[in-house]
């Protein structure tokens, strides 16, 4: 329904010197769900505030379908928000909460009732119209908040860590629910989170944010397997980086010794015997995690983290081992 263009947006808050967003650009296709992943202070929430109009940018532009929205009042932009807390109005029941957006826009009460009913079916909670927000569980509250946001037929749905206050099981459930509802309605969505797994499970593309800048933007699979930069790799859980000259045998990509190579922890092998591309080290930790074993091996004064799926050998603390970096799993990253 809507294509979003964010063009070199900058924002610095009055009482600070460091910008929250620096020359930030991002294009989102119609009906796409983009996850913004970053630590706190990376500018994720500020971006949402700028899009909804709660804050104004210092420079840059935000466009919906090619035309700027910066001069449109926040309540007419059609960008709805869903937060970590449901923020359902405690003095209204579920029906009135979901209908709020339609009521303030002047829709008749019969149409509102029908729309609310449709939304309650969509979120899988039919028949709870008359309940008060205080009588809902955390997950139900978030579903109702989603319904309240989507009933207005918004151009853009903004999700600001909507699941981070929920239990794991409820969370998995809602991840699927949000994803399927979003796909069904085809609403363009920005999803802010600091949970890598959640971002990968829910988004079409992921933008990794650091200090107000995008360090990587790609679909989850590509970012997971081959992050292009050091910062992006760290985001994606890669902790082992090697200088080219440390490697004895290189793959085709690993031609120069000045470059940095990365490898995912689950591709590193820990074994008794040395072979090509291996280094000798001492096991400092070895933890059985059920589906996999996690190792920490001290190599040349640095710690290498490795993961091997079961069946995997257990090593006692202090054991002399070799860590092996299979060449097909090494990839080059830019510093």
């Amino acid at each position: 329904m809507t294509t979003i263009n964010i063009l070199s947006l900058s924002k610095t808050y009055p009482n600070s010197t460091a910008p929250v967003l620096k020359d930030f650009s991002l294009s989102i296709h119609d009906g796409e769900m983009v996850a913004l992943l970053g630590p706190s202070g990376s500018g994720k929430s500020t971006l949402l505030k700028l899009i909804t109009g709660i804050e104004r940018p210092d420079s840059g532009d935000i466009q919906f379908d090619g035309s700027t929205i910066l001069n449109i009042d926040p309540n007419k932009r059609g960008a709805v928000l869903m937060f970590q807390k449901s923020y359902l109005f405690p003095f209204l029941n579920v029906e009135e909460n979901i209908g709020f957006g339609l009521k303030v826009q002047g829709m008749s009460s019969e149409s509102i009732r029908a729309e609310v009913k449709r939304m309650l079916n969509l979120i899988g909670l039919p028949g709870i119209e008359k309940r008060k927000p205080g009588q809902l569980s955390g997950g139900e509250g978030q579903r109702v908040a989603l319904a309240r946001a989507l009933v207005t037929n918004p151009k853009l749905l903004l999700l600001d860590e909507p699941l981070s206050s929920l239990d794991t099981s409820v969370r998995m459930n809602l991840q699927e629910a949000i994803r399927s509802i979003q796909r069904e309605l085809g609403v363009t969505t920005i999803f802010v989170t600091h949970d890598l797994g959640e971002a990968m499970a829910m988004s079409d593309r992921m933008a990794l944010l650091l200090n107000g800048e995008i360090v990587a933007l790609d679909n989850p699979e590509a970012l997971f397997h081959r992050p292009r930069s050091l910062a992006a790799a760290k985001f994606m859980g890669v902790s082992t980086f090697l200088d080219g000259d440390q490697l004895t045998v290189k793959n085709e990509a690993c031609s120069s010794s000045e470059k940095i190579f990365a490898i995912r922890p689950e591709h590193i092998r820990v074994q008794k015997d040395g072979c090509e591309n291996s280094m000798q080290g001492v096991v400092s930790d070895c933890v059985f995690r059920g589906e996999y074993v996690e190792y920490q091996v001290a190599v040349n004064g640095t710690s290498v983290r490795a993961r091997m799926t079961m069946p995997a050998p257990m090593f006692p603390h202090g054991e002399q081992v070799y860590v092996n970096f299979p060449k097909e799993h090494l990839f080059e990253v830019e510093n």
Binding site: T52, P74, N75, L81, F83, F91, G101, K132, T152
Partner: protein, 260 residues
């Protein structure tokens, strides 16, 4: 044990009222008698039928309502800023707002009287109401700012994103979230204004007669039955208002608590 305390509390609260009632509805109650021997409603009827009593009550209620509304309108923006924002000079703002409660009202009243005489507000209901705002405002601002301090602006952002305009947000979200505190603040303003003697006397200058003024002149007259009757009339509106709002407040309190 809990019930004994509760009963004791009620007794302490009601005892003075019962004493007033005993004085108001009796004649010739002398020392050794534990209870009045002759009951009568004639003093009460006399007071009720006195046009001065009724007009003073009507004027007092009108002024108190006016003061409540005005101080709410003045207090809301101030309370919002003081409750939600941190800024340089916040402490100073608080001090200035509470100054009227520290400075003797006589000092304010005398100065204000001269000013109001000059601009023609002395001796008018408007003038008295404006003067009453001075002692009520600190209490209304204090009550509302602590409500705003607990208020989460994200409720307003939600309403904004859903398409509500600023007026709709204010009326349908902010005011409703703050209802319990608004009731309390209104109550404070109403009661302070209703029982205001000195400022009414100074600014009203004998033109604006409220019940406290009548009560004071009756008190110097020395007829215990009249004093008791007027006192009963004096406490009636506040007691009624509190009794009415207590239920509402409880309900609202429960609603807000459910949310958290």
């Amino acid at each position: 044990m809990k019930y004994i305390f509760r009963a004791l509390l009620y007794l302490i609260l009601i005892a003075p009222l019962l004493l007033f009632a005993a004085y108001a509805f009796s004649t010739r109650w002398f020392f050794p008698q534990p209870f009045p021997v002759e009951w009568t409603t004639s003093t009460f009827q006399h007071a009720i039928n006195d046009s001065r009593t009724l007009s003073s009550m009507a004027q007092g209620i009108w002024i108190a309502l006016l003061v409540s509304v005005l101080s709410l309108i003045l207090a809301l923006p101030a309370a919002r800023v003081l409750g939600l924002r941190q800024f340089r000079g916040r402490q100073l703002a608080w001090l200035l707002l509470f100054l009227p409660t520290i400075i003797p009202p006589l000092a304010i009243g005398m100065g204000l009287n001269i000013l109001f005489l000059r601009i023609g507000l002395a001796g008018t209901i408007t003038g008295v109401a404006l003067a009453h705002i001075i002692p009520t405002l600190p209490y209304t601002i204090f009550t509302l700012s602590s409500a705003f301090a607990r208020f989460d602006e994200n409720y307003e952002f939600q309403a904004l994103a859903l398409g509500a305009n600023p007026l709709q947000i204010f009326l349908q979200v902010t005011l409703r979230m703050l209802t319990p505190s608004l009731v309390v603040a209104t109550l404070f303003a109403f009661l302070i204004s209703w029982s205001q003697y000195l400022l009414t006397l100074l600014i009203g200058g004998g033109q604006v007669i409220t019940l406290p003024i009548l009560l004071f002149s009756a008190a110097s007259g020395g007829n215990p039955a009249t004093i008791a009757t007027l006192s009963l009339l004096f406490v009636a509106p506040p007691v009624l208002v509190i009794a009415f709002t207590a239920r509402q407040l409880n309900q609202h309190g429960n609603q807000i608590r459910e949310q958290y």
